[in-house]
């Protein structure tokens, strides 16, 4: 039982990190990145080949290049690759295309990514995917299975704290206001001097890095990664979490990730199956769809809505006054 709970906890932490990155793009800036899961995958593959070692070392799987590097290099490298991919995709998609085209082309890009990986078995072991990815310090620590899970959870939480600090600082800063301004009205943001394309590119890079980090953490935990695991529909699961939790509210987004990612999607996979497993999967996805519809209709702002940011009249302290008591529990961003 402890094993299940710990596994679930790691999944939830990974989901929370990924959703914070998505929230930076979608919740704060209004960029609809339908290729988000591609960045998670890029991070997972990066961390995999940087911990698997030289490709000749194994005969059962093929990948174009590899190294055996100690933690935390695979995670950091994953974030860098995710950021670079964000730069590349952003330059391709954001600079010249209209908003509605951007969303469609990003969806196409996501699927193209999975086709490319599946098509070439020598690149990242094709559709079968990579397996037996080494876990950090597993051979050194000599812990029990549960003990190692606790250790890994601690590593994941450490990463989550770092990501939280990054998104919190962006959120609370004048830059955060600019992101929200771009979300609300691109033309007006440009008319007061903000380069909208550059702002969106920035969140593609940072969000991409965060997504990739989430992927790296996930892959070194489950030790396997294949195209079936990052189908473009997975992106919609993350969107659902952000919408349900409350876009623009970091605590809300974390809650959404906990509900949707943790209990809803992963939780039922881990719990003993009742009846046909395919049926359970289908019911999960259908409920996810229904959940999105219900929330968008009845509570589009999510469980914990975005906070109203007010400025204290005693401005010399430079601190924001909290608008709602709920916000105090969930979003400490004002207490900079």
């Amino acid at each position: 039982m402890a094993y299940y709970v710990l596994t679930l906890a790691v999944y939830v932490v990974v989901g929370i990190i990924a959703c914070w990155g998505l929230n930076l793009q979608f919740g704060d800036t209004g960029v609809l990145n339908f290729a988000y899961i591609l960045f998670v995958a890029a991070g997972a593959y990066t961390a995999s080949i940087l911990s698997l070692g030289h490709p000749n070392a194994s005969s059962y799987q093929h990948y174009f290049w590899g190294a055996h590097l100690p933690w935390p290099i695979p995670w950091l490298a994953a974030a860098v690759v995710g950021g670079l991919l964000g730069l590349l995709v952003g330059l391709l998609v954001l600079r010249r295309l209209r908003g509605d085209y951007q969303a469609m082309v990003l969806l196409v890009v996501s699927i193209m990514g999975s086709y490319i990986v599946s098509a070439d078995p020598g690149f990242l072991n094709g559709g079968v995917g990579l397996a037996l990815i080494p876990q950090p310090f597993k051979g050194v620590l000599h812990l029990s299975q549960v003990g190692y899970e606790v250790f890994y959870l601690a590593l994941a939480v450490l990463a989550a704290v770092a990501v939280f600090e990054v998104v919190r600082r962006i959120n609370a800063s004048p830059l955060g206001r600019v992101l929200r301004a771009v979300r609300e009205n691109e033309a007006a943001a440009a008319a007061v001097g903000h380069n909208v394309a550059a702002v969106k590119l920035l969140v593609m890079v940072i969000g991409g890095a965060i997504a990739a980090l989430a992927g790296a953490i996930e892959v070194q935990f489950i030790a396997a990664w294949a195209p079936a695991g990052w189908d473009y529909t997975e992106t919609f699961g993350l969107f659902a979490a952000v919408i349900v939790g409350g876009r623009g509210n970091l605590g809300g987004v974390a809650l959404g990730a906990l509900l949707v990612q943790g209990l809803f999607l992963e939780g039922t996979v881990l719990l003993p199956n009742i009846g046909n497993p395919a049926l359970i999967g289908a019911i999960q996805w259908m409920s996810l769809g229904a959940l999105i519809l219900i929330f968008l209709y009845f509570r589009p702002q999510g469980v914990l809505p975005e906070r109203r940011r007010t400025y204290s009249s005693d401005i010399t302290t430079g601190r924001n006054r909290l608008a709602s008591p709920l916000a105090a529990l969930t979003n400490r961003s004002a207490r900079g």
């Binding site: 196409v108 890009v109 699927i111 086709y115």
Partner: protein
Amino acid sequence: MNSLISSLGFGIVTASILLPAAVGFTLQFSATGVLNIAFGAQMTFAAYIAFICTQAGLNIWLALLLAGVFGAVFSALLNRFLLTPFARRGTTFFGMVVVTIALALLIEYLVEIIWGTMSVNYKMTGTGVVHLGAMSFTHSQLVVMAIGLVIAVATHSLLKYTRIGKAIRAVASNTELARSSGIPAQRITDTAWLISGLMGGVAGVMLGISLSSVSYTMGDTFLIEIIAAAVLGGVGQVYGAMLGALAIGVLLEESAIVLGGAYAPISAFAVLILVLLVRPTGIMAGAAEAKGIA
């Protein structure tokens, strides 16, 4: 060389299926402003309706017609009872995209629950082969191509000669202009959804015939090719979508020969991305720019 020509034949078949789908998708998008991600799932649903019809002993072509009608009615109902209420609530463009994503999940997995994950196929009586030079077509492929052609001509006539067609075209290219056409916006929206459902339904069955199998993820996968064709043609440009369908269809099949099947979709999308970098609003966007809306 011969293989290139024979795959041109396959390309035209694929294009004939893409054509109604891309036309329906782009027409509905431009007339209503809703980017319908559930379009592929709707196609799949209609393809399974045709499957039930053939199971019941109906001829496949009659089944195709019925599936088209089902698609049209289903799409119109979705608009009336799901999308319109959201639009009335002031859901934004991006919000509506998410709504249709949720809808896609609902339909796709409903289909999976009803018919399972194993693919099915239509009962079809003897299909002979016709040779045209290096190209060869089965009878059903010939009919699929004929349907594609008929739909292209029918769409052209609808948009060119009927009042509602002209109004839809006007809304598609310029909302301001259309307000003065005298046709209520609600009717235009309803008709656009009806047509897109019809086209999607027919295309779904055509795809099932062409692939000789129907599966619950079928439309989902095909959606990307539809989007590619529509974007390539310039969103909202019906004739652009037709050209885009032809280009993507031929490109998919030709690159399958040159690069191997696995790389075919990649090359088609790579071309799409390249085209968009050169012409960010699609190949047929000139007309839209002229009206100052691009």
